[in-house]
Every structure is written in structure tokens, then in C-alpha cells.
Amino acid sequence: MSAADPRRAAQIVGWFFILLAYLLIALIFLTPMLWMIGSSLRPSPEVFQYIFPLSWRTFIPIQFTLHNFADIFGISEQGRALGFQFGRALLNTAFVSTAVVGSSLVVNTLAAYFFARLEFPYKNVLLVFVLGTFFVPQEATIVPLYIVVRQLGFADTYWALILPWYASPFVIFVLSQFFQEIPKELDEAAIIDGASLLGVLRHVIVPNARVGLLTVSLLEFQFIWNLFFWPLIATGQKELQVIQVAVATQITQREIAWGRIFAGGVVASLPVIFLFLALQRYFVEGVALSGLKG
């Protein structure tokens, strides 16, 4: 156990570098988040007061206050008077995101299975057709999409926020790639055992693509969660307002309520971050199969 043991020394150096990289990554990716949280806990005039010169004051509130949060949730007198309902907006967003991810898991998994496994003429062309749906920027299609949604009678309802997104080219494409990583021999074995195609999907594909399914669900969840322009166009009543739209309303023609914007930014991002954190354990134990590949 001498310190001169080269293997031991290399190990220590290795650990040191891992720790260093860990801290550096945390610093780079977390600093803006911490600044946002710090700013959300300041009274408005203080938000940009200490941004320069750089010091501990840049991040730590001097006059700590929870007022911004009390305002946006309509708990404080002022917040109530101004009619802020970020709580409602958060619930709306959570409901819509969950509904999309739920339906998307079924619809896109079926479609991804089709592309990964099933036999069909001109499947390549069909895949390009699927991917092609996101070759045109939303800015060019939002008006006709709104027309379609209106004609179907969904404008200004939850359906407007859910239905257009229940199938996703991104999810289908990525899932079908994950599915293709699963050895075909497993399907074959299941079919010989008498499983139907749906049975193969349920008992072979889905269990073996858990990590992939979880990942795309999470990405889709945050995608819907962060949608802004579409909810802004497609819904009008305040009862349907999603959180991103609610945060934007703090920028008015007369004034920008920075404190409330950052408080809104915090409550808009923390739920997704906690969700992500909670799901980490599935990533750890998620290793697919051991060695059946190839």
C-alpha cells in the first residue's frame, strides 16, 4: 500500500481528473440556472443591479424575497389582483404534455415497430414521408395548421394542444432505430412460440427498448412542455393558458416584470428537471440484454 505504487497513483490522478471534469461541467451548465433562481428571489430593481462587476452579489440576492413567486401563483394580494394563475398554467401544461406523451407512446411505438420490423412495400419512401413532416418550418405551416384545427372545431380547447402532436416524426424515427438494435432472433423465437406481431411488440420489443422509450418520452415531454408559439395562436382563453405563454405575458407594453419572469422561468423548468432526475435510476438499471446481439 505504498503511495509509490504506480497503479494506485494513476488511479488517484484518474479520480482527480474525473472530479475536475465533473465540477467543470456542473459549473458550465448550472451557472445560468443558479443565476435565474437567484434573480427570481430578488425584488425587481435588484435583478440587474449586481450583474457587474462580478461578485458573490451577482448570484446571491441581497434583499431576499419570495414575492415574485407569491405574485405569479396569485397568493399575494398583488398577484391576486392582477389575476396571475401560474398554478393553473402549470397544471394545463402538465396535463397537455402527459396526454401527448401518453398517446404518443402508443401511436409512435406502433409506427416505429412498423418501420423497424414489419414488411411493407416502399417502406423507405414512407419513412421519408414521415421525416418530411418536419422539413417545413413551423412558421410557414402554423397558419394552415390553425385553419385545420379550427375547421375540426378544436380551436381554443385542450384538443388543439394535444391532437396535432400525438404522432411525432422524431419519436417514430428515433424509436425505430432503437428497435432495430434489438436482435431479430428474439422476435423469431417469440413467433415460433406462437406470439402475434402485437405480442412480439409487447413482450420482446418494448421490454428491450425501455431506455429508448423512456428517453424519447422525456424528450417529447419537454418538447410539448416548452411549446410557445402554437399554444399562443391556438388558444385564447386564459383557462387554457400554458406556462410558457403565461411567462411571456409578464413582458408588457409598459414594463418588463423581470422578477416575475425569472420566477416563472424557475417554476417552468424545475418540474421537468425533477422528472428527469427521478427517472435517472431507470437509466442506471436499464441495460438492455446481455450479449444476445450479433
Binding site: F29, L127, G132, F134, E139, S176, I191, F276, Q280, G291
Partner: protein, 309 residues
């Protein structure tokens, strides 16, 4: 796609089985994809066809349709210097951002995939920028990059380097936007690659280590080949997303200065919603569609794993 590369010889029993029930299976197979196709037809293809049609009209959102002008918008596009500039900016953006982001995501994925306590937390930390709203992100980056009082300039000064103008300097504005968007998006690619890494059976590493491979060999001969499909879809999807970058530019630089960050979707937005020229905006969108179609199909052909492992 890659699935069709499976040759009959790979698994004969599976194939004869399939052949026998071919027609029935086609119909059955179609049912799997039908719900998604219905969605795409209604919510994506009707709008795309609508945009294609609008591109042949003099059309503005407030004024409606005026005259049918056939291919005029497309002819105009050929001679539009701003469009040319925005295409250059967009290509530059994608060509610089994409490899950097994927390489960084790969490094972060491999780093955070180590069986060490705390790696789930750091993965979450890398993911936080993805869920931060762009309004907040753009304010934060504007403060970091501020020409006079920004964090980065304070840092440069401590190193004894001269102050730099970033966002309002046509030479550095695009690199600045690229840096900020890589920072914001890299977590997205990282968790996809992590998911891909989780799919690599440990036995491959064990076998390679027994053969005396070092870390670098493991990376080049085990990790990279087995991640090929994952990297393919990360690259394909990130290419499409990057080509359509808009909100970061809208909120950080408004396309400027001197059009140095005027990416194509920013130009489309400007045409449609500010210049009252939705018809031309639709034509430019169709050009973007063609570009993305060509690039995506080429990428999939190039990067397709021809070798089944």
C-alpha cells in the same frame, strides 16, 4: 432504411414465414402505422400542401390571396441576395454546430455513463439548459457575452486579454449564437447517446479488455461501431433541427448585425409576419424542404450501417 439491409440469408425461417402470409401481413402492418399517418396527413401534410399552394400566389396573412403568379416567387428566390446570405449563414451554422455538438454530446455521454455515483445528477445538470425557456436563456447569454460588462469579458481581462465584442460584432455573432445553442442543445443529444450506450452489451467490452485493448481501442473498436445507429439518428435529427434554428436567433441577435445571424427560418418569419409576404415565405420554405430532403436522404445513405455486427 437500414432494416431492409437484412438479407434473407440472415434468418431463413423468419423469412419463409413472412413470405407465406405476405398480403395479409401488409394489411395488418399498415394498421400499425395508420394512426400516425392519419395525424401526419391532417396536421402536417395539409399545412404543407397549403404552403406549397400559397407559394404560387401573391398572398399575405392580412390581405389574403391576390394574384396567382406561378413560379415567380421561385424565380425571385434565385436572385434574392438576402436569401442567399441567409442560406450561407444557415449552412455555416449547421456545419460548425453539428459536429461540435455531437462530439461534445458523445464525450459527455461516455463520461456520464461511468458506473460512478453522481453521474445521474450530472446528466440532469447537462440537461437543464434544454428545459430552460429561451427568454431566460437569451437574457443570461446576453449578460455573459455583453461587450462591456459581460462575464466572459471579465474572465478575459483576468487572463490579461483584450475585451471582445461578441453579439454585435458581425464576425463573432454567429460563433456566439452557435456556442449558446450548443450549450442549450447538447443535453438533448447527450441523453440520446446515453440511451444508445446503455444498449451496448457489456460482454463486448469484457471481451475486448481480455484481448488487451486500452481505453482508446475500446472507444474506436467497440463503442463507436456499436453506436453507429444512435449517432446516425442523432445526426439526422439534429441536422433537421439545426437547419430550422429560429428562436435563439430571434431572441439573441434578431438576425443581426449586418445579417450575420439571419438564418433561413428567421428570414421566413420576417417575410411572413413582418414583410407581409407569406407567399414568398412559403416559397422559401419549400426550398428549405427540398434542401432538407436531399440532405437527410444522403445522410441516411452515407451513414447507414452496411455491416451488420
Amino acid at each position: 432504411m437500414a432494416s431492409t439491409t437484412a438479407t434473407p440469408s440472415a434468418s431463413p425461417s423468419w423469412w419463409t414465414y413472412i413470405q407465406r402470409r405476405k398480403t395479409r401481413n401488409y394489411i395488418f402492418a399498415a394498421l400499425f402505422v395508420l394512426p400516425a399517418v392519419v395525424n401526419f396527413l391532417i396536421f402536417r401534410y395539409i399545412p404543407i400542401v397549403w404552403a406549397a399552394r400559397a407559394s404560387t400566389w401573391q398572398y399575405s396573412l392580412l390581405g389574403g390571396y391576390r394574384d396567382w403568379i406561378g413560379a415567380d416567387h421561385y424565380l425571385r428566390a434565385l436572385e434574392d441576395p438576402i436569401l442567399l446570405k441567409s442560406l450561407q449563414v444557415t449552412f455555416l451554422y449547421v456545419i460548425v454546430k453539428l459536429p461540435l455538438e455531437v462530439a461534445l454530446a458523445l464525450a459527455l455521454a461516455i463520461f456520464t455513463n461511468q458506473a460512478i455515483r453522481g453521474m445521474g445528477t450530472i446528466r440532469t445538470i447537462v440537461f437543464t439548459p434544454v428545459v430552460m425557456s429561451m427568454v431566460v436563456v437569451s437574457v443570461v447569454w446576453a449578460l455573459i457575452l455583453n461587450a462591456d460588462s459581460g462575464l466572459l469579458n471579465a474572465f478575459l481581462r483576468t487572463l490579461g486579454l483584450p475585451k471582445q465584442v461578441f453579439l454585435s460584432n458581425p464576425k463573432l455573432s454567429l460563433p456566439s449564437v452557435i456556442t449558446a445553442t450548443i450549450w442549450k442543445d447538447v443535453g438533448f443529444s447527450t441523453i440520446l447517446i446515453v440511451a444508445g450506450l446503455k444498449g451496448i452489451p457489456r460482454i463486448f467490452y469484457e471481451a475486448a479488455v481480455m484481448d488487451g485493448a486500452n481505453r482508446w481501442h475500446l472507444f474506436c473498436h467497440v463503442t463507436l461501431p456499436l453506436l453507429r445507429r444512435t449517432l446516425l439518428f442523432v445526426i439526422v435529427t439534429q441536422t433537421i433541427f439545426s437547419f430550422q434554428v429560429f428562436i435563439p436567433v430571434y431572441s439573441m441577435t434578431q438576425g443581426g448585425p449586418l445579417d450575420s445571424t439571419k438564418v433561413i427560418v428567421y428570414y421566413i418569419y420576417q417575410l411572413a409576419f413582418r414583410f407581409q409576404d407569406m407567399g414568398y415565405a412559403a416559397a422559401v420554405s419549400m426550398i428549405l424542404l427540398l434542401i432538407l430532403l436531399l440532405i437527410s436522404v444522403t445522410q441516411m445513405r452515407f451513414l447507414r450501417s452496411d455491416v451488420e455486427y
